[in-house]
Amino acid sequence: MNNNDIIPWFILLNPLITAVLILFVFRKNHGTAATVSTMSAFFGLVGSLCAFTLAPTHTFVRWIDMPGLQIPIGVQLDHLSQLMLLVVTGIGFLVHLYSTVYMEHDESKSRFFGHLSLFMFSMLGIVLADNFAMMFIFWELVGVSSYLLIGHWFTRDAAGKAANKAFMMNRIGDFGFMLGILMLWSTAGTVTFKGLEAATGTLTTNPMFLTAAILLVFCGAMGKSAQFPLHTWLPDAMEGPTPVSALIHAATMVAAGVFMLARIAFLIGLSPAAALIIAWIGAITSILAALMATQQDDIKRILAYSTLSQLGYMVMAIGLAPDPNGGPAMFHLFTHAFFKALLFLGAGAVIHALHHEQNIWKMGGLSKHMRVTSITFLIGTLALTGCPGLAGFFSKDAILLAAWSNKPLFFIAWSTAFLTAFYMTRLYIVAFTGKERSEAAHHGHDCPAPMTIPLVILAILAVCAGWKTESYFMSHHAEHASHIPMLLAICAFMFGTFAAMTLYKGKDKEPLSLPLFRNKFYLDEIYGAIVAGTQDVLAYIAAKIDSLISGIVRLAGMAAWGVGFLFRLLQFGNVQGYSFVFGLGVVWLIWFVVFK
């Protein structure tokens, strides 16, 4: 364990120590809690910066060591995790800085920062994990910390319900994830990624089995990265404070699923069937989310659906081009993290300034008063919609290029790009331009420095994150890709923005209303019905059967009483009767003994 092996362990354990310190020592004094947490996030950033320069290392501790089962707790610094470290700690530090002001007068601030550090610890655990079991452990810890953070204002019922929903969806995903791990482990005999890479021979003996295992592991990613069937928790997760949404539900936690898929890209490569299914699920998620986003009024909900859509993009990219160095998916994840965090923090600034007003139709004309926020928000929007030259353009182009080989997927990807441009421009125009539609919008003002500085930094990153970084993610360079996908991408950007501008210039209320999208394809109601229909009905039946079983047990007691009652009837009180019965007995006895 030479000294630069200490660094990854330090990065991992530093937030845990901070969380323990805050939750148990600094419970009462909120100020110190905030500063301690932000300082630890800063050290984490510094640590990951110098970890970026280190050669790949892999050190581990034996957590469970039995003859048949070795589960190590290890940290693995390699191409993929060094990059992800930067993203997580970078955005983590900026969000910490931002929330010192945002959560200024929240009465349980120390609890918030404690849980934030706990989240950083679990997220870094996923990034640094060198085996599936450890990744599953931190997978659940991330689920719990997102539960705690979403449910921060637990006195509000909506927050409690949203937190429960998020944890439940993650749990369903983890069910599949664990089953996938079990299947892979029982075949390969080891849970570590290196071990699995070595055991690809045994894994590919039964392709059906491998496809099923990969799809089950992908089920875990679906739960965490909110892919199609398990996505309804992400919009509801907006109940949590905005910094939480920025850090967790934009940049880091939801990206964990994509990161994990990148981690096992060598497996996905082995089973084309699984890759295709993953790609299709990603595509469906992106198009659905984009459609839903066009009709939302709450600024945070629009961004949440946009995240959903971009995640669908990344998962589609992993399905299409699984690349051990990350491929287009990780490239998009890298760029998306920055501008999505920027957009969320911008939205947070707007909400903070307008005293918790989240409906875009109540805003308008904010660019006049909130200069820095609106400029950075515009940069973020352009980056997201794929304006040429900004970060989003390069990563989306890489994905479209990868999708070019599969025409239907390309068409879906293209229409998503168009819709992204449409709803983001709609958001910007309605919220920031035109005349103020509410009194609060009138005297909105820029937020204090610790909130605007992260916005500026992120804006810079959103601009230059795409330049010349593509090669980092590609293990093999496409010789000469055709330029058509790039041109089509630019058309999509222009058509989308133009359409949104013409439709929403100077409008006061939503011109076109499509109830199907507004109510999120009624998926929430469908899921509610399914859960109510199956689980609650089954639970009711089970409870009835259980009372039946305990009835059977009581029956045994009743049987004893019944037999007692029968014998009581024999005492009919008449002396003659007794002697008669006695006589009968004697006669029968004599008959039996003598004559039988």
């Binding site: 957590w63 539960y147 006195t155």
Partner: protein, 488 residues
């Protein structure tokens, strides 16, 4: 007089002393703490194999001698008993009527459990468990709440019948040995296990399975558990759910698994069906519960399914995982029942509708209950997760690898995994309805528990975290003894 004799006799002698008039709470606390200290001393001084042996010939002509002896697995069980006893005695509120008898019964239960875990002689292994049966009846019947008489009678008669079945099983096992090799000493029996004819093993195994199954509330025999725990006073519920139920499982691991391998194979499918019903069916019943204490009762019945899954796996990983889960589940259910007992002071009915927003009024309780709840649904960082993971790994490994048509045990593992989702559903729903949201009227005057409840819960949670963050601390004890029992 080894340290083990003190661990076992201490609670029993103290119970007698208290019954005869010693100051009840103080001497009970003293006895519990010394029991814990002695157990830790025993664990530190443990060097493998069967240690701290001591025998007293009770009836030599029948080969009955009270032999104590402990291996790693039994030591962990003694640790569990000691910790839960300390927590149970410490958390008890002021008892008005007949305080001495109350504490005497609590210590008798603990003594009975400790005696059962520490005894190597099968006869006294059984006898010590019976010792704990009557105090449970008294505790539930006299100091319980709700319709306690019914519950007390039900649990006592049910467990008595279960013990009868178990006695038949043990007798058949004893007689299955050929004439010369008959002994009550479990160590010799395990050594001479090859003498048991394979044909008879199935017959004996089913008796033991049903007998222990009733004591552990296996699926069809579970209807005594929830009413008893709902009606029991806090320490009785903690000790019975946390410790006494583990006697049955410990018995299965100590007797049924090593000595009757063919028997296990014959009844494997039945056991799997029952444990899957235990997990899924009882899980659904738990979801349907409207009251906290009933829900906790049923959830403890459900978690038995996982331990059975570990035992059904039959390999070293599964059974070690099951043993660690016994420790984890014992501690987490004890913590939950302790806090549930404290909550009962605000709303005796403990119905979800009558409670709400307690976390605002009692932040410590909100946090501690949250941690205990998350521990019991298998959140990493607590012993339950590490052991449940090992149970799943062990059970899945028991089936064929690399094929999609799963064997029966692998299907049971899948159901077990889905059980984890079900347990999350009911536990979090309960947590949200009780602790989150706006505080209700009757919660207005509610405040954090006194330091006795607070520190006993902290003790339980700390033990859980040690087992979770660093499972090797417990596995170093459990693993060698399990491997000695069933081979690698």
């Amino acid at each position: 007089m080894t340290v083990l004799n003190f661990i076992v006799l201490l609670p029993i002698l103290n119970a007698i002393a208290i019954a005869c008039g010693a100051p009840a709470r103080k001497s009970a606390l003293l006895s519990a703490w010394t029991q814990l200290a002695l157990t830790i001393v025993a664990m530190v001084g443990y060097r493998g194999g069967f240690a701290y042996g001591s025998t007293w010939a009770v009836a030599p002509e029948w080969g009955l001698n009270l032999t104590f002896g402990v291996d790693g697995l039994a030591l962990v069980m003694l640790l569990l008993t000691a910790i839960v006893t300390v927590a149970a005695v410490w958390v008890t509120p002021k008892i008005e009527k007949r305080e001495n008898l109350f504490y005497a019964c609590v210590l008798l239960i603990s003594g009975g459990a400790a005696g059962a875990f520490a005894s190597v002689d099968m006869f006294f292994f059984y006898a010590f468990h019976e010792l704990a049966l009557i105090p449970t009846f008294l505790l539930i019947g006299i100091w319980g709440q709700g319709e306690r008489q019914v519950a007390a009678w039900k649990i006592t008669i049910y467990l008595a019948v279960g013990s009868m079945i178990l006695l038949v099983g043990l007798a058949k096992l004893y007689l299955a040995f050929p004439e010369g090799a008959r002994t009550f000493d479990m160590i010799e029996m395990t050594k001479a296990r090859h003498l048991i004819p394979a044909a008879e093993q199935g017959g004996i195994y089913i008796w033991l399975l049903v007998g222990f199954g009733v004591l552990i509330s296996l699926f069809p025999f579970h209807s005594w558990a929830a009413p008893a725990y709902a009606a029991a006073p806090t320490p009785a519920a903690m000790l019975h759910a946390g410790v006494l139920k583990k006697f049955g499982l410990y018995g299965l691991i100590r007797i049924a698994v090593p000595m009757l391998p063919e028997g296990a194979k014959v009844w494997m499918n039945l056991l799997l069906v029952l444990l899957v019903a235990n997990i899924l069916y009882i899980g659904l019943v738990t979801i349907a519960q409207k009251k906290l204490d009933w829900m906790l009762g049923y959830s403890s019945v459900m978690h038995m399914g996982y331990i059975f899954l570990g035992i059904a796996a039959g390999n070293a990983i599964g059974i070690t995982g099951a043993s660690l889960l016994m420790l984890g589940h014992g501690l987490s259910i004890a913590a939950l029942f302790a806090m549930c007992g404290y909550l009962r002071q605000t709303s005796p009915s403990l119905a979800f509708t009558s409670l709400g927003g307690i976390a605002k009024k009692a932040p410590f309780l909100g946090y501690a209950f949250g941690m205990a709840a998350f521990a019991s649904i298998g959140l990493p960082g607590f012993a339950n997760f590490a052991s449940e993971a090992m149970v799943f790994f062990g059970a899945f490994k028991a089936g064929p690898a690399a094929t999609l048509d799963f064997s029966s045990i692998q299907i049971a593992t899948v159901c077990g995994l889905w059980g984890v989702v079900i347990s999350a559903v009911y536990m979090l729903r309960a947590y949200r309805q009780i602790f989150q949201g706006e505080p209700q009227a009757n919660v207005a005057t509610f405040k954090d528990p006194a330091c006795s409840v607070k520190w006993s819960v902290i003790l339980l949670l700390a033990a859980l975290m040690v087992g979770g963050l660093w499972p090797k601390s417990m596995l170093n004890f459990i693993q060698p003894s399990v491997e000695a029992l069933i081979g690698k």
